[in-house]
Amino acid sequence: MTTAPRLRSAFAAPGRPRLVAYLTCGDPAEATTVAIALAAVSAGADVLELGAPYSEPSADGPAIQRAMERALSRGGGLTQTLRVARRLRDAGCEVPLVLFGYYNPIFVRGAGFAHAALAAGVDAALVVDLPLEEQAELLTPLRAVGLDLVPLVAPTTTSDRIERIRALAPPFVYCVSMTGVTGSALASPESLATRLAQVRTGTEAKVVVGFGIATPNDVRRLAPHADGIVVGSAIVRTIEEHPGHEAAAVARLVGSLAAALR
C-alpha cells in the first residue's frame, strides 16, 4: 500500500515548489483556526501543517510558544487538532494535512492514535522529538493504516543518517534550515542551498525546507533549491498581531508568499 497518497501526489507533479503553511491549532480558538486554514488554502497554500499545542515546546521559539499557550488555555491539544482536521475535510478542504507536534500527547493517546488521525483526514505526522532511533513505535502503526511519518534532517545530520532517513521512503523530508528553534533568523541562503542540494541529490525523496522562512524574499531565494517551503512563525505572528481579523491577514501574507513562488 502506498502511504499518504494525497501528500505524495501533491509533490509528484512538476512545477513550482509547494507552499506549506503552519498553524498552531486552537490559536486563538478552534473555529478561527478552521477559518484561517481555509483562507490560507484559498490564498495559495498547497499543504497545511496543523500544529498540535503542547505544554513543553522545547524546539519552538517565542512566537509558537505563545501561540501554544493561548491555545492550551482555551482547550487546545491533540484532540482539538484532530477535530480541526476533520472540520477542514468536512468543509471540502482537499490539500494534504500534516499533523505537526511533540511525542508525548501522541504517546499518551496510545494505540488508537493512527486510526484517529486517519478518521480525522490527516495524511501524515511530523513529530519533532521522535528521531530515527525512536520512530518505529509510531511509524509502524501509522503505515498500517496508510498514513506516514515525515522525518527531519537538521544541519547537524550526518550523511549516513541522511541515507537512513531517505531509505524510509517518506512522503517528504523536512530539512531544518538552521540549528535553532522555530522562528529564528534564517541562515545564509548560499550554505542552505548547498545543504538542500546534498539532501536532494540522488534520491526520489522530496525535500521541504523550514524554520526561519518569513518573507516573500526568503521564499524566492529558496525556491530553486527545494520541493517545498514551510512558513510557520511568520503566520503565527500575523495571527497574534491581527486579533479579530486573523483569516484576512493570513490570506494576505500567504498570497504574497505564493506569488513569490510563481
Partner: protein
C-alpha cells in the same frame, strides 16, 4: 559497570530533535571511551579527593536513632562535599568530559540552584564559559545560590515561561543547546534526559553508593537493611542505589515530594501518581493529563519540583527492585527540624523528604535493622524559606 544501552526496560531512549541526535551519539561515544580510560578515571578520582573532598563521611546518627527508637541510622554526608551537595560529583565528571571533547561552553538547568552552583564551579575550575537556566520562581526562592552562581562567573538566565520552575528551565536549556549545539556541552544535573545522560549521571554519582557500602561494612560488618534517598529527577538516589543494586537483600527506597498532599494534585510524586510518558528526552513516568499535557508540579523543595523522573527509577519501580514513597511539604519540614535539633545537621529541603520517611522505616526494620540515608545536601540555601514559613522563628 554494566553497559548502558539507551533503555532501562521500556524506559529511557532519546526523544530529542534530530538536530541534537548527532551530539548525543558523539557524547555517548566520548563517555564510553572516557569511562574505560584509566587516565580519565585517575583524573576524576584525584578531583574527587583533592577538590570535592571525598570520600564523604558516613555518620552514625545516634541521637536520631534513639529518638525514632528503631533501626540504626547512618547518614551518607554528601552535604560535606565542596559546594554542599552531591551535584558536584556529576559536574566534575561531566566537566572533565566536556574539556576532553573540546567544548568551550557549558550550559545547565537548575532547580534549587545546587546543580547550577556545581556547574558554575567546574566551569570556573576548567576555564569554560557557563550559562545557567533557572525558573523565575526558583530564582526568588533560592536567592543565595543565585548570587553564588554570579560570584563564580556564570551568566544566569531567568526563565519566565510556563510554571517558571525546573521543567521550564530545562526547556530553555534545550533551546539553547539546539541553537549552539556545535560548541556547547549541555551538563544535565539529574539522572534524567535522553540517553546517555541517565546512565552517565548514575555512573558518576555511583561513588556515593560504593563508598557507603564499604564504609558501612567497615563500621558494622554488614550490609544495610535499606538505602533511602529523595527522588526528584533522581540522581542522588541513583548514585546511592548503584552501590547496592546487586545486593538483593538490601531494600532500595526512593522518596518523592507529595507537596501539599497527593489528593490536592499539588505535588511532585511522579512515580507514585504519574503515568508513563515522554518528557525532556526520555520515556519514564510523567505528571501529565489525558491529553499528554504536562501538569505543573509542586514542592516546597525547588530541587524536587519537577513533573518527570529519571527512567532508571521508572524501571526499578516497575520491576519492584526499588520502592517509592512520598512525603508532604509539612512532613519534610518536620524532618528538617528534627535532624537539625537531634544531630546538629541542617539538611536541604530535598534531603528532608528522605529523612521524613525514617520514622516509618526505622519502625519497620526495628532495632536490628540498619538504614543508610543519602544526606544529599546541606540546607543553608533553604534557610530564608524556613524563616519565612516560621515567621522568623525556627
Amino acid at each position: 559497570m554494566s553497559s548502558p544501552g539507551p533503555y532501562f526496560g521500556r524506559f529511557g531512549g532519546r526523544f530529542v530533535a534530530e538536530t541534537l541526535m548527532p551530539s548525543l551519539l558523539e557524547l555517548e561515544r566520548a563517555w564510553l571511551e572516557a569511562r574505560e580510560d584509566a587516565g580519565f578515571q585517575a583524573e576524576l578520582a584525584a578531583l574527587f579527593t583533592s577538590y570535592v573532598g571525598r570520600p564523604s563521611l558516613l555518620t552514625y546518627a545516634a541521637n536520631l536513632t534513639r529518638e525514632l527508637g528503631g533501626a540504626r541510622i547512618w547518614l551518607k554526608r554528601e552535604d560535606l562535599n565542596h559546594t554542599g551537595a552531591h551535584k558536584i560529583n556529576n559536574c566534575v565528571g561531566q566537566g572533565l568530559l566536556a574539556r576532553r571533547m573540546g567544548k568551550r561552553r557549558l550550559i545547565a538547568e537548575t532547580g534549587a540552584g545546587q546543580h547550577g552552583v556545581a556547574t558554575a564551579t567546574v566551569a570556573a575550575l576548567f576555564g569554560l564559559e557557563c550559562e545557567i537556566y533557572m525558573g523565575a520562581e526558583d530564582i526568588e526562592r533560592q536567592a543565595l545560590n543565585v548570587f553564588r552562581m554570579r560570584v563564580l562567573g556564570a551568566t544566569l538566565h531567568s526563565v519566565e515561561q510556563g510554571t517558571r520552575t525546573l521543567k521550564d528551565a530545562m526547556n530553555e536549556a534545550l533551546r539553547d543547546w539546539v541553537t549552539n549545539v556545535r560548541d556547547t556541552y549541555y551538563l544535565i544535573g539529574s539522572a534524567a534526559g535522553p540517553h546517555p545522560y541517565p546512565a552517565m549521571v548514575r555512573d558518576l554519582q555511583s561513588v556515593i553508593g560504593r563508598e557507603a557500602r564499604a564504609q558501612l561494612y567497615a563500621a558494622e560488618g554488614r550490609l544495610p537493611s535499606a538505602c533511602v534517598a529523595c527522588v526528584g529527577g533522581g540522581s542522588n538516589a541513583a548514585g546511592l542505589f548503584a552501590g547496592f543494586i546487586d545486593d538483593a537483600a538490601v531494600d532500595l527506597v526512593g522518596v518523592e515530594a507529595a507537596g501539599e498532599g497527593l489528593a490536592t494534585g499539588r505535588h511532585a510524586a511522579t512515580i507514585t501518581a504519574g503515568r508513563v510518558g515522554v518528557l525532556h528526552g526520555s520515556k519514564s513516568f510523567v505528571l501529565c493529563d489525558d491529553e499528554g499535557q504536562v501538569l505543573p508540579a509542586h514542592s516546597i523543595s525547588a530541587g524536587l519540583d519537577y513533573p518527570g523522573v529519571g527512567p532508571e527509577h521508572a524501571f526499578l519501580h516497575e520491576t519492584g527492585r526499588a520502592r517509592y514513597l512520598s512525603r508532604t511539604d509539612n512532613e519534610a519540614l518536620a524532618a528538617f527540624r528534627l535532624l537539625a535539633r537531634t544531630e546538629g545537621i541542617v539538611p536541604a529541603l530535598e534531603t528532608a523528604h528522605a529523612l521524613a520517611a525514617l520514622p516509618e522505616l526505622a519502625a519497620r526494620y526495628g532495632p536490628d535493622g540498619v538504614i543508610v540515608v543519602c544526606l544529599s545536601g546541606r540546607g543553608d540555601k533553604d534557610l530564608p524559606t524556613i524563616e519565612r514559613l516560621s515567621g522568623g522563628g525556627a
